[in-house]
Amino acid sequence: MQASTDFTPTTELLSGSPKMMYTYFLLNQCAKYLDAMRQPKDVNIDTVTNSLLAFCPDVARRDKLFDKYIERKQDPKIENAVTASILTIGDFQAYLSEVLEFTEKSAGGF
C-alpha cells in the first residue's frame, strides 16, 4: 500500500495555531510510519523509527525513547525490530497525547 505524499494542509490548518500545524504534520508522519510497518521487509526499520522520533519536541524525552528502542530490540522477549519500534512509537504517542492535551481532563469545585 502506497502512503499518501500530499502534505499540503487545508486552508483552515494553514491559518491554525503552531500546535494544530504540528499535530497535523505529525499525524501525517504517523500514517507514513504505519504504511512502512505494513511492509517491513522493504524498509529500514531503524531509519523509519528514528526519523519519526526525531520530531519529538522534548530533547530529553527523545533521547530516552531512542535508548528504549535499542533496549527493546535487544530484549529476547520482543524478538524483532518491528515490535520494538511499534512499542516505542506507542510510548511517543502517549507522551504526545499528554502534552498536546488530546485527552482533556475535567475538574469540579464546590
Partner: protein, 349 residues
Amino acid sequence: MVTVYSSRTVKDITPEDSAKIVAAGVPLSIYTSCFMDLGPSNKSAIKRFANICSAINEHELPLPPSKFIEFVADRTSGKSKQDFTMIIDAKKGYGKSYSSAYLCGRYAIEMAERFKQDPKDYFSLENCALLEDTEGITKIMDVAEKQQAIIIDDAGTAIGSRDFAQQKNKNFNKILATCRTKRWFVILNVPISSHIDVQVRELVDASAHVYKPFHEGGFNVLKINSSESNYRFGKKKVFERKFSFFERKFDFWCAYSPDVLDPFRGFIEKYDRQRDEAANKIIREITSMEKARSNPVSSRDKKRKVAIDKWGQVVKDMTEEGKSARAITKRTGLTDHMINIIAAEMGLK
C-alpha cells in the same frame, strides 16, 4: 451542624470528619486538594461529579473548600482595591436564586473566618434586592457596608436592556462602574444575560450558568467562566474562560441550598416569602399602570377641562354680551383655538 472547610482549615480536618467522609464513599482527596478530579472531560464527567455532590448532601458531610469563593474573597479583601461582580443566568425555576444565595453565604463564611466576624455581617436578607426597581437597588447599595455580598434578583426588572437609555439605567451603571472601592461581591440574576443592560454585562468579572439543576439531590451544577470585554480596533470582543486553579480547568461547580450553611439556616423560607411579596407588588403596580393605559386621560384633555372649569362661564357671558374674540382673549389669556373649543363645548354660536 455542617462544617465548612477552607484550604487553610482543611489541614486540621478532624479524624471524625475524615472517617465520616470515607464511610460515605466520598474521596478524601476532594477536601485535601480542594477540587474533585473528574477524569477525562466527557459526557459522564458531570455524572461523576453529581454523585459526589449528592453524597455530601445526603450524608450531611462537611463542605469541601471552595477555591472560587477564596478567589472572590482574595479579590475583595486583597491589597489591590478590587471588587467582584458576576451574572448568573438560567431558565426560570432552575435555581438561580438558591445558587447565588449559597455563593454569597459561603463568601460571608469565608470573610467572617478571615476577619474573625459573624458571617451575617457580610450577607443577610437586607442585601438582597428582590424584584426591585432601580430605586430599590440603589437604596440597598446606599446602606451596604464594605465587602458585602449583594444579590440583585431578576436584574432585568431594574436594568433591563429595553430601558438602556433611561436615566435609571444610567445611574445604576454609574454606581456599578464606580463602586469598586466598596469592594462588594455583587451577583446579578437573570434568565438570559442579554436581558440586562449591555454596559452592565460588559462590566462583570464572571458569568455563571446553572448547567443542570439537581433539585432532588439538593444542589445545582454551575458552569462559571471569567469574563473580560475589550474594545480594540473598532470591535468589541468578549473573552470567557473557565476558572483555572492548580493548573486544572474547572468545568463544573456545585451550589447547594444556602440552608445547608449553619449561619443561614431558614434563609430560603424568608427569601421566598419576601420574593412573593415583591412579585405581588409588581403585579399590582403593572395592573394599575395597564388600567391607566387602557383608559387614557391625555394632558390635552386635562388642560381643556381646566380651561372650561375656570373660564367657561366668563367666555359664555362675554360671548352673549357680544364681545369680540380679541376682547375675550385679552380678558382670559386663552388662545383663539381654546376659546373656540370652549364655545363649542358650551354650545355657543
